[in-house]
Symmetry: C2
Subunit: 893 residues, 2 copies
């Protein structure tokens, strides 16, 4: 027989903290507190398996559940000496949901259950407070009516308001027992009228109604949405907790409150919380009365004028401090607790691991290690890697009022305010005058990079989390909101419009790249501070990991940022980004306009010294660390102008007619540029381009080796390889150039030649490709595009629907799809290592900075991940956690 | 010790016909003829392995080759009693290349080798003809000078011309022995002057020079090009044949000639050939003298006035007929032979399987079966499937003179002439007036289909063998030349230009889609005739195959053509093609412009009856055969207008402003439409579209089932599936619609729901997808695009270079890439069948009509291939051959 019901109470419980999946967070916490001997009102938990059964069997219950619930009720009655529906000593219970993870406010609760026309008298007698009893009864009917019977809130509220009008009273507290009796009768009439049958007087019927309502609320729309947003599977289900009521609203010696065992904002090792005298839990939530602080220190720190619990209920606070110690010693973590004080006695209603800011999380983890409570591995395990973003970017001041214009995707974290501009040129020129600007574009292209750099933040109306704007912004550490589809930008009128609101160029807006919000006007931000705890914890993390963390970087600024954040090399230097600088775009355009190889070589000769300098600078900054340089990847047309003026300029520079330039530009248009004449295909058809780049790399390597004696480790990477032959041809050319440069200089530089694995064919043919390649770097952005046949620039129009319908559990451009893309990675790893056991393996797609994807990388045995400089700390931590998870698996395997 | 040299001669040979890979075609044929006891001048063959060694070892020879060649020479000397360089009875030899397959005229030959100042006198004495001897000597120096020493042709020819001027003679035949002696001396001076050393007098030195030159000619540019065009691997190498000379130019009882054992044009069972009296082989090739026919019948049939061999050398002809019989009995196939008659004696110089027209090939194969020489399987094996194209399409009259304007890709076979037009509209309106038109476009789009249909042929300047134009043209059976990159089309001036030649709209051009040629003016064509042999052979083929052959067809015309050509169902009906008809484009545009589902449903309601009728018609035509219908696949923007006038029309039709229409069109532009919002993604985001299509299919199926009682087998196919969930959602919808339509009609129609496998992810997840899918159809066009990351519309700019460099052995859009795309197909087949053993598997990409790809389909165990209607016969034959090849493999395995 399945055990569906688990009791808890004085002297112990059938459940344990570890049974969280079965009992939900609340149920497991209550059981554990009972076992610890803490004061918890007795009750029982109906397991999450009942919820699963309920939905799998047409909303019915397991056959033996009714008996088990009856037995559970008996045990509560026995513990309290009370009886369900009793006129003398009635048992009253609360019925609450409780899922595996907290879903605050998403599901339903019924309090004071067990009251009826009979037992309300019993409550009145036992409490000696008739007004309290009838107030409780009317609260019950009201809550039950709404939650279980689906009667609208206002139906009840109107009745109270009418009664107040009739009697000339205005506040709830002015209503007497008699008033509440009248209202109770009125409420019962509402139920009869609305539902066609009287309010249920049988406590058992009430109980089953409430259980059904709580289970039903698991599928209410707001819970479904919450789960989708927080990636909580529907089949986890919720437990139902039935627990004896305790009352914080029976008088001045009663109270209700919430507390954290440490400060959730700073992590300081101090009890932190608030309470209300003579109140029920909902009153705290309703926010009508101002809560009081628990400690005098808390009261003073928050400049409160209300007395602290330490002053008015010192014995209770003493007891609370004892409970805090018991819980922290037991759970070895900061707890978030709820309690009620009934007639001077403390009752615990909940304990769970407390939510905290990133800064507090670091402080608490480091403190717990110092206190000897947890070890370093545990500390590393406890920090959510993504939360570190909060520490690295400015955040909006949470106290500020905001007017939200629209929402897009949270594409690059941080907040920024500035004058909105609609072109990279405007962004640059305003920024040059010291203005803060936000660059708003339909979408961005490599030509906008200078403007993106000049801007404080970037906003686009098209494109997803891995659109050009998003990727570049994350790389630069600029906040970015991408794909704000409701927003229409009109470049001609220099206006943007979201529904009825028009914003003209020059108006100030604020974007929050952590939430995707776009706000009107300037919203104050808080600058991040990196604490000593950060360095301590990252140090521990670094000691635990096997995989290296590199950065995707091409500018000296990026490279320095990456090193500062602890990158152990550059995993991806996109050389084409170097071609967009003002002094480079001319020569590269001459290359594109050339009629023959000779003409191309002339343009390339101009680029050679610049590229050499670029690489030398990177080698200097990354001294002692490997630098992976990818040769030219994008198709030619990305370097072409867009406006008429630019076309004229290009014609002048390349000594061609505008018509010729336009004709060439037209010839370069591709139907699917992502699948077009790019990557190593350029290197094959125009070998002189890659030859120039190889020469610049080797010359720079020789130069810096001469300066420093050693420490230069270039890894030359070829993009878009689909066949071994492409790699053979290009590697032969690179080796030839390298030999010639090094012989000429009399210096030997160790170097590697490897390939991106970003096409399904390359993954499948990894064994033969590895015969030539020294390393593989998985370009999982393009691999995701080709495996799914999904353009990341075009996916926005249906990605939302796909996630809503559960077709994609996660955006595959954010978290690597393990079943499809991952299988190809796995195949490539196996086949590549079969041919070359020491093959170096890394990942340089955007997934390299995503913790879930990093776990996958650890599992398949990559040597390093590479990500945007600003994600390096996140990756370091995630890699350490992945290593720890791997060890656990190994240990249990 | 490796045997590099294989001798042959009177009484037998060391080689055999089966050793063709080692000895080349010529060497193997000579050896075999010796073994058959036919008269062959003795000689030896240096194997193709020497060629491979030569190129793998820096153009050097295997160490033991010299000895083996010497031994070979000895055996010739022994057989003839002659000696190399002898002044009395000199041995003269020819040195000829001979690869595994014939490469006519591509490589070099040296005749009369062994002549020097000494042996020329011997030849003179033995032949009794001094003039002949010195003529032979000068021919040798001239040929050797060109081929071995690299001296230009004109250097020698000038000298002859000068001598003629000096002596007042005009014809070669007028020159005496003395004249030739003077010229021989002059030639020797040319050699000394040009090369700095005298003409080699040592026959052994001459021989090694000639062997080196023949091997070297394997890599000359024209041979390399020929191999690329004919897909001959470079590592096959050539053999070198050294053979005693026989002379057809020693007098009137001498001759040289070529013959086919049957008529190569018609296949008629008659000796067919030509000869020249007193001539060497080159004279036939040079075409200066008119050759005579062998038989009186041949002479009469060709209205020749010159006497036949039957008349002038009846004994020789008798002998030739005997040889013919021996060869046909032995080879059991029509042979192409070369012979020389020296002083009345017939000598055989070559035999090989003869080239023939498709018609002749059919006739010969069927005759040989009737004659009991070969069996049906052998007959089926002997027809090159691609050659059937000649029978199905008009061909250019080979006698016509042509002026070639430019060349493109031979994208759809057949020839057509007509007035050139540059828009679909023009094509339609001219065609409506009965004009033949050729539609020339930069590239075509679905909107051009009506114009393509109206045109006699299609010409594009961009795109490859699987571009839109090529695919549609093949489907329609229209000739098409695609990607003629030298041609520039200017829509504004309605002109096209190839280098200096301008063609204005309305001028007549001719295109040959079998060769890719574009010609000025009208070139007469020959209409195809399908012979009884065709039906006979196709019947035999059908009896041998397991895989079915279906057609890709959506119009009634296509479907009828397909059935006429023997298609066993429709493998791909692209429903979107039905939306481009004049009466459909309005409603589909209303769907696209709609603001909400309700608006879309209104447009769809108009389309429903039309689609129903389309499907009903197809079901009627294909009665009793399965019809696979693919639901809407292309992205919305393919249905949008292009010109201003069309935008205005669309605005009017959809009751929107032009600005609104343009805005919507702009919003629908995608960066990579191939990877965008298309396929099942449309069905997921706009379920009402697929719902309408499903309803039309079921209603049509019900209708035709009621008409006929049964015989309707719809197979509904979902495009671009990447995840099981997509298929689950859409199949549920289709099943629901089907149930409702069938219940309402009271008729049950058996149907299947399946999916295209055209994305790598679908192939990898085939096991879970097969849990829902009734069938898989491999869309290898898109699968090739995604596996390679290669857009078929954009590949033209580098595909040429990729083939030249050997990166792609074949265009992967023409022949399925077995190593990459093929591996995914194999994975999908295995995984799909693991989940659902009876899973129906087919292919509907362009590869379905390509014989090499069909072999792959047979190997992996597909159930059917589907191709353009006009390729159905080719596919039927190729499938039968693949089945035969599979049986052979099974037998040897």
């Amino acid at each position: 027989m399945t055990k569906w019901v688990h009791t808890f109470g004085r002297g112990g419980a059938e459940g344990r903290a570890e049974m969280r999946n079965l009992l939900g967070g609340k149920g497991a916490g209550l059981a554990e507190m009972c076992t610890l001997g803490l004061p918890v009102p007795p009750g029982f938990t109906i397991s999450t398996e009942v919820c699963t059964w309920f939905y799998e069997n047409g909303k019915t219950y397991p056959p033996d559940l009714e008996d088990q619930v009856a037995t559970g009720l008996k045990s509560i009655e026995r513990a309290l000496g009370a009886r369900f529906g009793d006129a003398d000593n009635p048992l009253l219970v609360s019925v609450r949901s409780g899922a595996r993870v907290s879903m605050p406010g998403m599901m339903d609760t019924v309090l004071n259950l067990g009251l009826n026309d009979n037992s309300v008298e019993g409550l009145s007698r036992r409490s000696g407070d008739e007004r309290f009893a009838y107030d409780s009864y009317r609260r019950f009917i009201q809550m039950y009516g709404q939650v279980v019977l689906g009667i609208e809130h206002h139906q009840f509220e109107d009745l109270i308001e009418n009664h107040k009008l009739d009697t000339g009273l205005t506040l709830d507290t002015e209503l007497s027992a008699e008033d509440w009796k009248i209202i109770v009768n009125g409420f019962k009439d509402v139920v009869l009228q609305e539902r066609g049958h009287p309010f249920p007087q049988q406590p058992r019927e009430q109980l089953w109604g409430a259980i059904g309502a709580v289970l039903g609320s698991w599928m209410n729309p707001r819970a479904v949405t919450y789960r989708r947003l927080h990636e909580i599977p529907a089949d986890w289900g919720t437990a139902v907790n039935v627990q004896a009521m305790v009352f914080g609203n029976m008088g001045q010696d009663c109270a209700t409150g919430v507390a954290f065992t440490r400060d959730p904002s700073t992590g300081k090792n101090e009890l932190y919380g608030e309470f209300l005298v003579n109140a029920q839990g909902e009153d705290v939530v309703a926010g009508i009365r101002t809560p009081q602080h628990l400690t005098i220190a808390g009261k003073e720190a928050n400049k409160s004028t209300l007395p602290a619990m330490e002053e008015v209920m010192p014995a209770v606070l003493q007891e609370l401090r004892r409970v805090r110690q018991v819980l922290e010693d037991h759970y070895r973590d900061m707890q978030d607790i709820e309690f009620t004080v009934q007639r001077g006695k403390l009752w615990m209603l909940q304990t769970r691991s407390g939510k905290r800011t990133a800064q507090a999380a670091l402080k608490i983890a480091v403190s717990l290690v110092e206190e000897g409570v947890i070890d370093r591995q545990e500390a590393v395990r406890r920090i959510e890697p993504a939360s570190l973003d909060q520490l690295l970017h400015p955040t909006l001041d949470p106290r500020a009022k905001t007017t939200i214009l629209t929402r897009g995707l949270p594409a690059s974290p941080g907040a920024a305010s500035g004058k909105v501009v609609f072109s990279a040129e405007e962004a640059e020129s305003l920024a040059a005058h010291g203005e803060a600007v936000i660059l708003a574009r339909v979408e961005t292209s490599p030509e906008d990079i200078h403007g993106m750099h000049a801007a404080k933040g970037i906003l686009t109306t098209r494109g997803g989390m891995t659109s050009h704007a998003a990727v570049v912004a994350r790389g630069m550490g600029r906040p970015c909101v991408a794909g704000a589809g409701d927003l229409h930008i009109d470049y001609t009128t220099r206006k943007m419009t979201a529904r009825a609101t028009h914003i003209t160029a020059g108006e100030v807006i604020t974007i929050d790249g952590s939430t995707g919000e776009v706000m009107l006007g300037e919203v104050p931000t808080i600058q991040p501070k990196l604490s000593g705890d950060f360095a301590t914890l990252m140090g521990w993390a670094d000691g635990l990991r096997r995989m290296k963390v590199r950065a995707n970087a091409e500018t000296p600024l990026d490279a320095r940022t990456a090193r500062r954040f602890g990158a152990e090399g550059i995993g991806l230097c996109r050389t084409e980004h170097m071609f967009f600088e003002a002094d480079r775009i001319g020569p590269i355009r001459r290359v594109i306009m050339a009629d023959d190889e000779r003409g191309r070589r002339a343009g390339l000769a101009e680029l050679l010294p610049m590229q050499r300098q670029d690489f030398a600078e990177l080698f200097r900054i990354m001294r002692g660390l490997p630098v992976t340089i990818r040769l030219l990847d994008p198709p030619f047309h990305e370097f072409l102008p867009k406006t008429d003026a630019e076309f004229e300029e290009m014609a002048r520079l390349t000594e061609r007619s505008v018509a010729q330039v336009r004709q060439r530009a037209h010839a370069l248009i591709e139907t699917n540029p992502m699948l077009g004449h790019r990557g190593c295909r350029l290197g094959i058809t125009y070998p002189e381009i890659y030859e120039m780049q190889a020469m610049a790399i080797f010359e720079a390597a020789v130069l810096v080796t001469k300066e420093n004696g050693a420490g230069v480790e270039p890894e030359i990477m070829l993009p878009l390889i689909a066949t071994k032959k492409e790699l053979d041809i290009l590697k032969a050319m690179i080796d030839r150039v390298g030999k010639s440069v090094m012989e000429h200089a009399g210096v030997t530089v160790p170097y590697l030649v490897g390939t991106m694995i970003e096409l399904p064919r390359a993954a499948l043919r990894a064994e033969e490709i590895a015969a030539t390649a020294d390393f593989f770097s998985f370009g999982t952005n393009d691999l995701t595009q080709t495996v799914f046949g999904l353009s990341r620039d075009d996916a926005a129009s249906f990605l939302g629907a796909y996630q809503r319908l559960g077709i994609f559990e996660r955006d595959p451009f954010v978290t690597l799809d393990p079943a499809g893309v991952g299988e190809l990675v796995r195949i490539a790893v196996e086949r590549g290592r079969a041919a070359r056991p020491g093959l170096k393996l890394g990942i340089c797609g955007e997934h390299g900075g995503d913790p879930a994807s990093i776990r996958f990388c650890q599992e398949v045995g990559l040597d390093y991940v590479s990500c945007s400089p600003y994600r390096v700390p996140i990756a370091r931590l995630a890699v350490a956690q992945a290593a720890l998870a791997g060890e656990c698996q190994d240990a249990t395997a």
